[in-house]
């Protein structure tokens, strides 16, 4: 039981990271029906820029983290303005491929910095140790991951439920033409969604960096883990992203805990999320919370 609980707890920690990343991913999909393959790159940019601010000008870590969030959000905004705006109305494959191309461009750009090839760790900003929860050890970095996820979830749900801007964004996701007829600037909403996605990406980058250190490849590969999470949760559901992220995290850890022993070589946690992805597509293609689209001939 203790073992199971431990697995679930660490699953939730890992899942929080996926959930954070998935949140941004879903925002973009929800607003503009774009699947962003460059999300992992934004995660990396967020993490490395925080590292840069904290070690270059030696700013306090909290300030650096804040700057990183702002910078990445701005980058998301720019991406939409420069690249995606031109592709409105193009076939889906073009839009997907543009984000794939962007991912590569950003990778290249990061190689123009010293961060391309090596491993880094954030300067210490959390106290040593952690808390003991029901006999399970959780350190502060892991708590931070969960706290960040909760914080962003609350912020985004408040934003989307309460603020006029948030409601307008959901309206755009629902019906662009009708939103336009009411004076909602669809373009502004798209850019806003990308900025918000940049924000969450940076947040997950900060968390990953704190827990596992900074490595370009490792950071960007989280962008891939987001897919099982969002498919499970439903591509266009904010709460789905969070639930999907957490579930994938937990399932991944449970697979590692119980399946690895049965499979020679183990490593089931690498493939299990993708098996789930396929199974979900088979039996419940729109995920747990996703909305089915109504199609007309």
């Amino acid at each position: 039981m203790q073992y199971f609980l431990q697995l679930v707890i660490s699953g939730i920690v890992v899942g929080s990271i996926y959930a954070l990343a998935a949140l941004g991913f879903v925002l973009i999909y929800k607003a503009s029906r774009v699947i962003n393959f460059a999300h992992g790159q934004y995660i990396a940019i967020g993490a490395f820029s925080a590292y840069f601010f904290a070690t270059g000008p030696k700013l306090p870590f909290v300030v650096s983290a804040f700057l990183a969030l702002v910078l990445t959000a701005f980058l998301g905004f720019l991406t939409e303005r420069i690249f995606l705006k031109k592709l409105v109305g193009q076939p889906i494959i073009s839009v997907i491929m543009v984000t794939i191309g962007l991912a590569s461009v950003l990778d290249g750009l990061m190689h123009l910095t010293p961060f391309g090839a090596s491993n880094y760790t954030f300067p210490k900003f959390l106290p040593q140790g952690g808390v003991n929860l029901l006999g399970l050890q959780l350190d502060y970095a892991q708590l931070l991951a969960v706290a960040f996820t909760v914080l962003f979830l609350v912020l985004f749900s408040l934003f989307f439920q309460r603020s006029t801007l948030g409601i307008a964004m959901r309206a755009v996701a629902d019906d662009q033409m009708a939103s336009l007829s009411l004076g909602v600037s669809v373009e502004k909403m798209f850019a806003l969604a990308w900025a918000a996605a940049g924000l969450t990406a940076a947040a997950s980058g900060l968390v990953v960096g704190t827990i596992a250190g900074l490595n370009l490849g490792a950071l960007t590969s989280i962008g891939l883990k987001v897919f099982p999470a969002v498919i499970l949760g439903g591509l266009d559901s904010i709460s789905g992203a969070v639930v999907g992220g957490l579930l994938i995290g937990v399932l991944e850890k449970l697979a590692e805990g119980y399946l690895d022993a049965l499979v020679p070589g183990g490593g089931t946690s690498y493939v299990f999320p993708f098996v789930i992805l396929l199974v979900v597509l088979w039996f419940k293609p729109h995920g747990l919370f996703g909305t089915e689209e109504i199609e007309r001939v």
Binding site: G89, T164, L165, I167, A168, R170, A171, A173, D174, D175, Q176, M177, A178, S179, L180, S181, L182, G183, V184, S185, V186, T291
Partner: protein, 276 residues
């Protein structure tokens, strides 16, 4: 024609003037070939005509919603309170005070009724939104009862009311209604039109309504235009139109002589119309 129709200017100062516009979609498909109409302030103006005549396109040209459909006004002008507004972005036009209720209602299905209404107020920076919400609920008491329901689960009539209420929250000077009767039961259609008439009378909102159902539209409109194949075929005050034998015959469904119409008569009517 028997008598000269009274001009729209006679009904009030002209709020919106569409002057001989031509609209082309995707750089090749011409839909409007010189449409002109005038909307007098404080009145309800109806734009009638059969399917495919270009009514919706005209409305979109006014509200700026042509642009996302890859359409463009290539000649002519649209003037709102003396200012050229054609080919402007839709959000600018909404800010000027023109709001369109799109065809097929297009409520935000996954938003609640009240959230739908709040989207309508997204361009406003003033603090009167709460009061206005109350006013909308006053005109559409049904919506108040449904305010937390997802709009997608509302009935067609409720959705139409919601779409109109939503547009009104933007505080338009000119409200454009595109086929509000579409897919609704006759009783509901009448209810909606009477509410529109009330709003027009009590709030002073100018209305331009596009309809296929000429009978119900002319029951509330002060002035009307009839559009066919991309241009205006006929115009006049409500009484003028209601008395016009062609309108009676083809739009109001009252036959001149009872009995069935032969196709040849229809053709001759169309031929005659071209010289009007």
């Amino acid at each position: 024609m028997s008598s000269e129709p009274s001009r729209p200017e006679a009904l009030g100062p002209i709020l919106l003037e569409v002057n001989n516009i031509e609209v082309v979609y995707r750089d090749i498909i011409q839909v409007l070939r010189g449409v002109s109409l005038k909307v007098p302030e404080g009145q309800i103006t109806a734009l009638l005509g059969p399917n495919g005549a270009g009514k919706t396109t005209t409305l979109r040209a006014i509200s700026g919603l042509l642009i996302p459909e890859d359409g463009e006004v290539i000649s002519g002008a649209i003037r709102f309170r003396g200012e050229d507004i054609h080919n402007r972005a839709p959000e600018n036009i909404v800010l000027k005070g023109i709001v369109q209720v799109p065809e097929g209602r297009r409520v935000f299905k996954h938003l609640s009724v009240e959230e739908n209404l709040r989207v309508g107020a997204n361009t406003r920076r003033d603090s009167g939104v709460k009061e206005d919400l109350e006013r909308i609920y006053h005109y559409f008491p049904k919506l108040r009862a449904l305010k937390d329901r997802l709009a997608g689960y509302c009935s067609g009539g409720e959705q139409q009311m919601l779409a109109i209420g939503r547009a009104l929250l933007a505080r338009p000077r000119l409200l454009l209604l595109d086929e509000p009767s579409l897919g609704l039961a006759p009783l509901l259609v009448r209810e909606i039109f009477s509410i529109v008439a009330r709003i027009n009378a009590e709030e002073g909102v100018t209305v331009l309504v596009v309809e296929q159902n000429a009978r119900v539209a002319l029951s509330v409109a002060h002035y009307g235009y009839i559009m066919e194949s991309g241009h205006i075929a006929l115009e006049g005050t409500r009484d003028h139109l209601q008395e016009n034998p062609d309108v009676r015959e083809f739009y109001l469904g009252v036959a001149k002589s009872g009995g069935r119409k032969s196709f040849r008569d229809v053709k001759s009517y169309r031929r005659r119309k071209r010289f009007m």
